[in-house]
């Protein structure tokens, strides 16, 4: 097991089938150093072709040169496999590269090619050779690059997953606003499918708002909920009962005809909870309920 330097997460890089011999590491380190400029140019060209101009050439060359240095230093330090201690810096560099690419919206393919292209570049430098030892060394080196690319791919996926998780959370936050409609009346317009996680967020936020604003009435508007099944109804009912326990009344509004049909077909009972067809009806109902209270409150203020 080796800890990836950047994320601090444990990454299993696998057992190397073909490891570089110390001799081979040194040889490729020298080769990378010697042909640095030619390699970087060819490498950047190969990567650039895949990126289709979404990254400026100088930036790409700078990145490629950094990577080349990373590889060269790791090999010079005697790294035989990517999980070796000597390659820690290279691993950090690769994670950095993939997280950068992932955040900029490049595909996994485009990210992996940034590493794989080194193979082609090195092969070009080696030229046509019949030397069996050179070829064998290249196979080991190629396996090393494969591992590096796999590692890049792994980091890429991890960054993308964390991005998706963040966005899901943001969506959850965004999609459950509680709005004040009138003095003592708040409304929760529900939009989208109501699963357990969202129902929980809605419930907590609504109840907290009731406490914070001291509103004795809440309207739950389900116009934006595409389907109401027993599960969703259960969530709504729980919210209403919890609000009642705290001393606030809930009205459910925005029930579309099809939804009403489904509710009846499923045998869902809303009991003595007021249900209205539209938000306007619900507000009118609430104002009717508290009409003389509104007047009384006005008078005490004077």
């Amino acid at each position: 097991m080796v800890k990836s330097a950047r994320c601090g997460q444990v990454v299993w890089l696998g057992e190397a089938a073909v490891a570089l011999s110390p001799d081979e590491s040194g040889r490729f380190s020298d080769l990378l150093k010697e042909h640095a400029d030619g390699l970087v140019a060819r490498w950047a060209e190969l990567v650039g072709a895949g990126l289709q101009g979404r990254m400026s050439r100088p930036e790409l060359e700078r990145q490629t040169r950094d990577l080349q240095k990373g590889f060269q230093q790791a090999l010079a330090a005697g790294a035989r496999d990517l999980k070796d201690e000597e390659a820690a810096e290279l691993r950090a560099q690769l994670s950095e590269l993939s997280s950068h690419r992932a955040r900029q919206g490049f595909s996994a393919n485009e990210t992996a090619i940034s590493v794989f292209a080194l193979k082609d570049a090195v092969l070009d430098v080696l030229g046509d050779t019949d030397d069996i030892n050179t070829l064998r060394a290249f196979v080991s080196f190629s396996a090393f690059i494969d591992r590096a690319a796999l590692f890049t791919f792994d980091s890429y996926v991890r960054v993308r997953e964390s991005l998706i998780a963040d966005q899901t959370e943001q969506l959850l936050e965004l999609s459950t606003p509680v709005v004040k409609l009138w003095d003592g009346v708040v409304a929760v317009p529900l939009v989208g499918t109501l699963d357990s996680a969202r129902a929980q967020v809605v419930m907590e936020r609504l109840l907290q708002t009731l406490v914070d604003t001291g509103s004795p009435y809440a309207i739950i508007d389900i116009t934006g909920v595409p389907a109401v099944d027993t599960q969703v109804a259960q969530h709504i009912l729980k919210t209403v009962v919890a609000a009642r326990l705290m001393g606030a009344d809930c009205i459910i509004s925005g029930i579309r005809p099809q939804i009403a049909q489904t509710i009846v077909a499923l045998g869902i009972e809303f009991g003595d909870i007021a249900t209205k067809a539209s938000l306007a009806d619900a507000l009118r109902y609430v104002l009717g309920q508290k009409s003389y209270k509104v007047v009384a409150a006005k008078r005490t203020e004077r």
């Binding site: 907590e204 907290q208 406490v211 009962v241 919890a242 009642r244 326990l245 001393g247 209270k293 005490t300």
Partner: protein, 139 residues
Amino acid sequence: MERVPVLKIGDILLVSIQIDMEDQVALQLQEDLADRIVTTGCHGVIIDISALDIVDSFVGRTLATIASVSRVLDAETVVVGMRPAVAITLVELGLSLPGIRTALNVELGIEMLALSRPHLDVEFDDDEDEADSAAVLAP
């Protein structure tokens, strides 16, 4: 043993529970409150549980009993200030505290009591219309 203080404000007894509701405390409160309702002749009881983190089934039943006892003694009981987390837990446990009236805060609780007994509302009729009648009634 710790006791929960019972404060008399006008026609209302205010109980604010600031300590953990152990079984003994709850039973003691039930007794104290019944005594105070009789001695003061109040017609409203407000129990503030906004400081309570936990309301278990026993506390829930005690609150229900207090409400029933008060009703027998002609006093309305309102439980106020239940925390969202407590409400959610009670719902998840399937306890809906039947027979207990609730309000979001003490102010709304007082208002609720005033509305249920409008003829006894001295605190709230400071508007012009009823100011005269209140003045006539006052000795």
